[in-house]
């Protein structure tokens, strides 16, 4: 049998969108002194006959495992980019105030674009509102997230 493949295939260098999200999410936990802990769930999903990787950011209260909030979802294919964010409309209005119509899908083309988009999400009023609500559930009042 002929072997038509290369002898070896190497991992690609560079940060994956998932690892960038994990790092940014961890910072949110630190800023709330871990009263609200972000958890990134990941899995694969079938999207238009092809697989995509799915990363869902949950905001949780460590002392109350029953409380969790699905904040947004990030999707990409075997290519790291483009990345697609599924966010709620309120968040989208904050991220792209000039955008006309109702949208909840945000496309990001590169690592350079991903960092500021994640910063925009984590520093948004919507994130502050949700974190405040979760902190209130924790019995600490609505303190929001320290920026």
């Amino acid at each position: 049998m002929k072997d038509l493949w290369l002898n070896k295939y190497d991992k690609v260098a560079g940060k994956t969108p998932g690892s960038i999200l994990e790092k940014q999410a961890a910072r949110l936990g630190e800023k709330t002194k871990h009263q609200v802990e972000p958890v990134v769930e990941q899995s694969r999903v079938l999207l238009e006959e092809e697989n995509s990787l799915w990363h869902r950011l949950l905001l949780t209260i460590p002392t109350r495992p029953m409380y969790q909030y699905g904040h947004f979802t990030m999707l990409h294919s075997a290519d790291f980019y483009p990345v697609f964010f599924l966010v709620d409309e309120e968040m989208m209005r904050e991220l792209q105030p000039g955008r006309i119509g109702r949208h909840s899908l945000l496309r990001v083309e590169s690592e350079e674009e991903l960092q500021p988009v994640l910063q925009g999400i984590f520093n948004s009023k919507e994130t502050e509102r949700v974190v405040g609500l979760l902190q209130a559930q924790n019995g600490n009042g609505s303190q929001g997230v320290k920026k």
């Binding site: 038509l4 190497d10 690609v12 994956t16």
Partner: protein, 140 residues
């Protein structure tokens, strides 16, 4: 693996494709493997060639599909992998609709170009990186 032979001793494209699929795992520590999946909703049937990342919950990435008339020509369809199509086109020139291979030799030559392409190196490399990260996070 049964080896389908054709009348003029050319090996059957499906046999060759399945053999090649069976070889990838040994080059990636079985993290990324290849598989041929038959789609019999077409006549003649279509055979889809997938890369599968085992640790990523069997994440499937379709590279190309083939259809053939017994046994040659074989027609390659890269509809789901435009970047791969572009790279092969740069080497072979543009084709109309689907890329044909009129013999076993030509079929193997196209497979060789696909498996040595920059695009395949990138896709397999990405799947290896993502798989490693996925396993590390699942274990943490």
């Amino acid at each position: 693996m049964s080896d389908l032979q054709t009348n003029n001793n050319q090996r059957h494209p499906l046999t060759i494709l399945r053999e090649q699929a069976s070889l990838l795992g040994s080059k990636t520590d079985n993290v990324v493997v290849a598989k041929v999946i038959e789609d019999d909703s077409y006549d003649p049937p279509k055979y889809d060639f997938y890369l599968i990342a085992i640790p990523l919950e069997n994440f499937h990435h379709r590279l190309f599909s083939i259809q053939y008339e017994i046994p040659y020509p074989v027609f390659f369809d890269f509809r789901k992998e435009k970047k791969l199509e572009q790279e092969i086109e740069e080497k072979r020139g543009k084709w109309k609709w689907e890329l044909p291979a009129y013999s076993e030799e030509e079929f193997e030559s196209i497979l060789y170009e696909i498996f040595h392409s920059e695009r395949i190196k990138k896709v397999i490399g990405s799947l290896l990186t993502l798989s490693e990260e996925f396993v590390a996070e699942a274990g943490s």
